[in-house]
Symmetry: D2
Subunit: 185 residues, 4 copies
């Protein structure tokens, strides 16, 4: 009987997808690096800093097999950030890569994927290697040079190497911290 690999990124749980013909799974993307970014449409730091960086990442690595995925992890103002508002937001901000609506969990402010990933708030990003392991986990945003370097290293890795976990986190003003005691379990 095999143990689950503790280094593996937990799977995405979504109630809906935008910009994707069918739901995506990390298992199905094994072999490719994945840049997973969590945001909320009313989070100022996400709108002014993280999402513009996501677009720059998409542009810089357009010719590679990097997969960029966004997760709308609503953990506050739930009635204000519905899928209807998200859809208009994605249209206005011209976000083109797949976006998952994080699955709400009954009795919790924190949605399922956010809890599984242990996200402290938004914006957050997680870089996943070709082997499915978490390579880095950042709350806030990092400088573009560091992000570019990190993704290049993930791309350079041969398809299924032993991943290594880097844990440096950099923070940005305007980021949203999750209510204490709920996320990060």
């Amino acid at each position: 009987m095999s143990e689950p690999d503790a280094r593996l990124a937990p799977e995405i749980a979504a109630s809906a997808w935008f910009n994707a013909p069918a739901p995506l799974t990390l298992a199905g993307l094994r072999g490719r690096p994945v840049f997973l970014h969590a945001f909320q449409l009313l989070c100022p730091g996400c709108v002014s800093q993280a999402l513009p960086q996501v677009k720059r990442i998409e542009r810089a690595f357009a010719g590679t097999d990097l997969q960029v995925i966004g997760i709308h992890t609503v953990f506050e103002h739930h009635a204000a950030m519905t899928p209807v508002t998200l859809q208009a937001f994605l249209h206005e901000y011209r976000l083109a890569s797949p976006i998952a609506v994080d699955l709400a969990e009954e009795g919790s402010e924190i949605p399922v994927t956010m809890r599984r990933l242990g996200l402290r708030g938004t914006p957050s990003s997680i870089l996943i290697g070709r082997d499915g392991a978490v390579l880095s986990h950042v709350f806030g945003i990092e400088d573009d040079i560091a992000v570019g370097a990190r993704i290049a290293m993930a791309l350079a890795a041969s398809p299924f190497p032993a991943g290594k976990s880097a844990g440096t986190a950099a923070c940005a003003d305007g980021r949203r911290a999750a209510p204490a005691g709920e996320a990060g379990a």
Copy 2:
């Protein structure tokens, strides 16, 4: 029998107010200059450029009798930009001056105040003199230096001078144009 003064800014029609203990009227503000700015919470140019400028205006003229008023003029994505979402938006973006929800008009995408003011889209701003006359009408945003100069002139005017209408408009990327044939009538 007197004619209405064509130079006078038309009155605000609001279905709700935020950051105001009671509804405001331009008539009630006669004697003070008013900086009226129209925005939509899902308009990228409003969020990234116009609203930060509004905050700089509030700060620069904090010691004067200038009244800053925002109008949420929804003319697209109506289901996505409800008062519930607006309230959370105002909280997250720390907007402190009075904000009116422009009154929806049956059978039209364009709300009442937007139509009355002849706004072409968002962001737009209208500077109103102490005598209630429109001093300038801008679609997009102007450079800070020009805005500062314009407001200073409005403040310098003695309480009820003859206003003069300046029509220069400068535009910003990301602004929202209203559907042709509806606004600006």
Copy 3:
């Protein structure tokens, strides 16, 4: 016998002028507002913040009778910031308004106009009213909105009103402070 007017800006002392067919004097400009800005070509705050703002001022008030004048007030690295280097600098940075080379004073690091004006370092700016009086004196730079408002007020004043001295100063990172005990006497 008349006393000199203490509110009057002291005269410029220059060893050379660029971008001017003949030397300018504040006395000769009486009746027009003057925006006087002091800089050094190796001062990072001047190059990155103050001089770009000077260009925005020139553009915003191009249609008025405001006179913009720069003074190269070298108080450090004297051998590194000669008129030959200044001339190439003005060419590369496309500065078009008149620039005076502040007159060196024997036995002092601080040049004459800098001392007369009591400048604390670079960048600094002094706004002079139509009557020749100092309206404001800023070490560092102010926000564009405040600068625009201040200059508009100077322009709005009738040709020879009683000036009033405003002393608010805002500072910018990268500004250069003069050696203690020399300037500002």
Copy 4:
């Protein structure tokens, strides 16, 4: 008899060094990647864009064996950009990594290293691999993400792999083009 390797970066020719206890050579740095950036102190694009990026590169790769080297390649305004002015410039702009003064060549506006490297102007940068081969050559500046990715790939290469030449160039406003027919021979 061996042929010289055409892919090898040509050697630096310097008349002086700043921020270095002794002259550096590319030959002596073999085994480490080198980020070589060419600038002029009166080049606006260098001052406002390239040099701030160099500082971000130094910071992001501080823990690695990347060697950053600047070359002051004066090809215009020679009398205005002397070593005396350069020294004050380096002090004011807090540049800490080694800077070479490119060797003037009698009878040419273009200095020796600039000609050897075939630089088209400033700012330019050349990334050199662990084996001494040119990995990229950029006139202007690239986005930070692309630069970070490129340098990470150079660092990831094992000490003496077969280099590969990438030729993408991106340009920035304010860059300086060399006089036609002189550089790039």
